[in-house]
Symmetry: C2
Subunit: 349 residues, 2 copies
C-alpha cells in the first residue's frame, strides 16, 4: 500500500490488484459488485480504486465479454431542429440505460452515409438507429452494416431491394393520417380548392403526406387540379421561390396543405409578395410544429410530432431488439396531433 499511481499510463485493474495485494480477478469481481467477495476485502479494494483514480476500461471488458455498450445514431440532418430534438431524446434514454451514443451525421449525402456507417460499424455498436439520407439504397446499406447488427429505420423508407431490409425494425410518423387531418380541417373550414405544397417526391414521407391529402379530398368528393400539386426543396428559401407555381393553373387554390412547417413559413412570405395575407386571404397548414410555428404571423396550424418522444421511443425499440433479436421485425407508426391555429382561416368571402 502507499503505492503511487503509474505515470504516463492509465490506471488498470492490475495496478489496483498490486496496490492492495489481491488478484486481478478479485478486483474485477468488486468492480462488478459480485456478492462473492468478502466485505472486508471489498472495502480495501474500493479504497484503492479511489486512491489511484481508477477508470473502468469498458472497451477491454466488451472485447472479452463479446458485448457492446454503444448504439449508433445516424441522422441525415442533425442541424434540423426536428432531428436535434430526436437525438436528444435518443441520448436521454441510452444514457439512462448505460449505453453510449455514437453519433454520425450524413448531411443528406448517401455516400457519406455509407462511409459513416462503415466507420461506426468498426466500433461494434449493439444496434443502429438510422434516419436515411434521401435516395438511400437498401442493398448498399445492408452491405455496410452487415446482416447481424439490429437496425431501426426512422422517419424514412429506403429504396431498392425489399428483401434486403425486411428484417429491419421501423419507426415512422403517421404522415398519411396527419396530412389527411389537416386537409379535412381545411375542408371543414369551407375550402374546396386546396393545394398540396412542397416536398420532394423522392422522399417517402412526402408521398405519404400526399396520399393523406388525396384521401381527404376524394373522401369529400373534391377534385384536385394538377397545378395544385407543387414540389419544392423542403426549406424556406425554395418554398418562397416556387410559390408562384400554385397560381399558374386555371383555378387558384384558396388553401394549401404544406409538406412541413419550413415550407409553410416560406409560402407565407411568398403570399405576402403576391399581396395575399396568410390567415385571412389564404389558409395554410404545416407539419412538425417547430418552435417557430407557434409564434409566426399568423400562428401556424400544424401537426405536432413530438420529436423528443420519438427519440425516446426509437431508443427503447432498438434496445428491446438488442435484448432479444428473435421476434419478427416490427413497424411502429407514431401518432401525430393536429394543432389548430390562426393560419387555417375559412375562405375569404
Amino acid at each position: 500500500m502507499g503505492n503511487t499511481p503509474p505515470v504516463g499510463r492509465k490506471v488498470t485493474l492490475s495496478d489496483i490488484a498490486a496496490g492492495c495485494d489481491v488478484s486481478r480477478a478479485t478486483v474485477s469481481l468488486v468492480l462488478r459488485g459480485s456478492p462473492l467477495v468478502n466485505k472486508h476485502t471489498r472495502a480495501r479494494v474500493e479504497e484503492e480504486l479511489r486512491r489511484q483514480g481508477y477508470v473502468y476500461n469498458r472497451a477491454a471488458a466488451n472485447l472479452r465479454r463479446r458485448t457492446s455498450s454503444s448504439i449508433a445514431l445516424v441522422l441525415n440532418d442533425l442541424a434540423n431542429p426536428f432531428f436535434a430534438e430526436f437525438a436528444a431524446g435518443v441520448d436521454e434514454i441510452l444514457g439512462d440505460t448505460g449505453y453510449v451514443t455514437l453519433l454520425g451525421s450524413t448531411g443528406e449525402s448517401t455516400e457519406r452515409e455509407l462511409a459513416v456507417l462503415g466507420s461506426l460499424m468498426e466500433h461494434g455498436p449493439a444496434g443502429i438507429i438510422l434516419s436515411p439520407a434521401e435516395g438511400s439504397d437498401a442493398q448498399q446499406i445492408l452491405s455496410a452494416v452487415g446482416g447481424v447488427t439490429p437496425l431501426l429505420l426512422f422517419n424514412r423508407e429506403v429504396s431498392g431491394d425489399v428483401a434486403a431490409c425486411d428484417h429491419w425494425d421501423r419507426l415512422f410518423l403517421d404522415n398519411q393520417r396527419g396530412a389527411r387531418l389537416a386537409t379535412e380541417h381545411l375542408i371543414a373550414q369551407g375550402h374546396k380548392h386546396i393545394a398540396f405544397y412542397g416536398g420532394h417526391l423522392g422522399s417517402s414521407s412526402c408521398r405519404q403526406r400526399r396520399a393523406g391529402y388525396m384521401e381527404a379530398m376524394k373522401g369529400a368528393g373534391l377534385t384536385v387540379e394538377p397545378s395544385w400539386m407543387v414540389e419544392c426543396i423542403p426549406n424556406r428559401l425554395d418554398a418562397v421561390a416556387q410559390s408562384e407555381h400554385l397560381f399558374n393553373g386555371k383555378t387558384a387554390p384558396t388553401a394549401a396543405v404544406c409538406y412541413n412547417d419550413a415550407v409553410a413559413l416560406g409560402l407565407m412570405l411568398g403570399l405576402h409578395q403576391r399581396g395575399l395575407q396568410p390567415g385571412r386571404d389564404f389558409a395554410l397548414t404545416g407539419f412538425d410544429d417547430i418552435a417557430e410555428a407557434a409564434v409566426s404571423a399568423p400562428p401556424l396550424t400544424t401537426l405536432a410530432v413530438t420529436p423528443r418522444d420519438r427519440g425516446r421511443q426509437a431508443a427503447e425499440l432498438i434496445l428491446q431488439r438488442v435484448k432479444d433479436p428473435a421476434p419478427p421485425p416490427r413497424q411502429t407508426i407514431a401518432p401525430v396531433q393536429l394543432l389548430i391555429r390562426a393560419s387555417s382561416c375559412p375562405p375569404a368571402a
Copy 2:
C-alpha cells in the same frame, strides 16, 4: 479456401488468416496497407476479406495500441439549434479524420453532466469537447474526467477552483465585442435610452455581453438606469413574461440589446402586447442569428456566430491537442459579425 464464414460470431482476422493460409500478422499488415506484404499475397487476403465480410474491430486494435479513435462531445442542450449546428460541425470534421463522436447531452443539469462524463470516460475518448451546464464546478468536472484526457471548454466558463482547470483549452465567442457592436449600432441610430434585456447572470456569456453593452454605453457617455437591466430565462416564453419590467423605471428605454435571438423574439411579442411595434416604435437586437431571425417581422438585427464553423473549429482544436499535448493551453475567441436588419430602427420622432 472455400471456407464458410463463422456462424453466430463476427468474422475475425484469424478467420481470414485461416481462410487463405497465412498468419494473423500478415492479415494485419494487409489491413493497415503495409508495403511489406507481397502484392500477390495482398490480393489473396483482400479477396478473402471481402468473401467473408470482415469488419475491422477498432476496439481491439485500440486496446493493443493504447490509442483511441473517439472524441466525446458533451452539450448542455442539444435541442437548441445553436448546439445542434455546432454538433453537426464537430461531427463533420471528426468523421473526416476517422474519429467517431461519442455524444452526451446533459439537459443543463450538472448532476447529469457528471454522470455522462463518467460514462463516456469509460470508453476512453482521446479528447473531450464540453459545453458545460450552467453552474458546473471545475473541481467536480476535473475529478470526473481525470487530469490526463485533453478537454476543450466551449462557450461557457465554469465556476470554482481556477487551478483545477487552467490546463484546459477554451473556445469562446466574442460575446463582449458582439454586444458592444450591437449597442454602438443602436447609439449610432440615435438612441440614448438603451436597455440590456434577458439572460441569466449565472452564465458567463451573459456577464460578458453585459460588459460589452456597458462598455459601449460608457464610451458614448450615456448613463444606464437600473431598470434597464432585466434578467430572464433565455427562452421566448419568459422573455414575453418579463418584458413589462423594462417599462417600470422612471425613463422608458427606446431600444434594447437582447441577450440572444430567442429573447429578442419574445420581447417583440411583449412589445406588441403593449401596443408598440418593434422596428418602428422600439429598436432591438439579438444574438446568434438563428434561422428565424432573418424572417421574423421585422427581420432581426443580430450577431452571426456561425455555430457550424465553431463546431469545426472545436473539433480541429481538440484534435491538435490530442496530437500534441505539450503546448500550453490556449484560449480562442471566435469573432462574431453584426448583421443589420430592420429591427434596429432609429428612435421614433
